[in-house]
Point group: C2
Chain length 111, copies 2
DNA sequence: TTTATTATTGGCTATATTACCAAATAACAA
DNA sequence: TTGTTATTTGGTAATATAGCCAATAATAAA
C-alpha cells in the first residue's frame, strides 16, 4: 500500500469509526430531522449524560455534527447532508443480508 | 429509545463497524474495481495473511463481501454495489473537514 | 503418498473503546 | 454572591479489537 493510500484509508476509517456505534448512528438519524440538545438525546438514548456527551464530541470531532450553545443548553446538528444517503446505503446492506438469510432458510426447508 | 430503534441502530452499527478500519475500507475500495484473492490483498496491504484473512471474514460476515474458491486460492468480491456511493459520501465529509480547517487557518492569519 | 501453496483458525498480548461515577465548568436566576 | 441546571472532563474497570505467530485445513502438484 502506498503512503497516500494508507493516509486516505486511515482518514476514511476515522469517519466510519465515528459512525460505528448504535448510539451514535441513532443520534445521526435524529439530527437528520432537526437539531437536538444533549439532554433531549440523553433522554431518548437512556444512558448517562456524560456518555451521550462523549458520543456527541466524537461526532463533532469527525466533522459529522456541530454544536451551538444557547444559554446552558448545547444544541447539536448535522454538518453533512449526504449522511442521509449514507444511512440509506447501510440499510441496503441490511436488507440484502435479510433476503439472503430468507433464501437460505427456504433452501434448507426444501431439502 | 424503543426496542425497534435499538435493534435498528445496532444492525446499522454492525455494518459500519465492519467498514471502520483502514485495511478493510482499503479492501472495499479495491474490490470495487474487481475481485482479488487473499494473497493479492495481503501483498497490497503488507500485513500478515492471517490478519488480512480475518479482515475479509469480517467483511463477509457483515454481508459486504463474498468469497469464491478456485483451487487453493479464495477470491473475494463486493456484494453491495452501493458501497461505492457510500465511500463517496465519506469522502465528502473528509473534504468538508479539510475546507473547514483551511478556513480556520485563514482566519487565524488575518488576525 | 508426500510436498507445496493458499487460506483459515486458535491463542496470546497490546491497545482501544465504552460506560459509569465523580468532579469541574458554564450560564443563568434568585 | 449563592444556587441551579446543562454539559463536559477525568478517572477507572470491563469489554472489544487488532495483529502476530503457530497450528490446522484444503487443494493441487510431484
Amino acid at each position: 500500500m502506498k503512503e497516500s493510500e494508507r493516509i486516505k484509508s486511515e482518514a476514511r476509517a476515522k469517519i466510519l469509526k465515528a459512525l460505528a456505534h448504535p448510539s451514535r448512528i441513532f443520534i445521526v438519524d435524529k439530527l437528520a430531522e432537526k437539531p437536538y440538545c444533549v439532554c433531549e438525546l440523553t433522554e431518548m438514548i437512556g444512558s448517562d449524560t456524560s456518555t451521550v456527551s462523549k458520543h456527541l464530541s466524537i461526532l463533532k470531532n469527525a466533522g459529522i455534527a456541530t454544536d451551538k450553545k444557547k444559554g446552558t443548553t448545547v444544541y447539536y446538528s448535522l454538518e453533512t447532508p449526504c449522511l442521509l444517503r449514507f444511512i440509506g446505503c447501510v440499510e441496503e446492506v441490511i436488507e440484502q443480508n435479510i433476503n439472503k438469510q430468507l433464501k437460505s432458510i427456504g433452501q434448507a426447508e426444501s431439502r
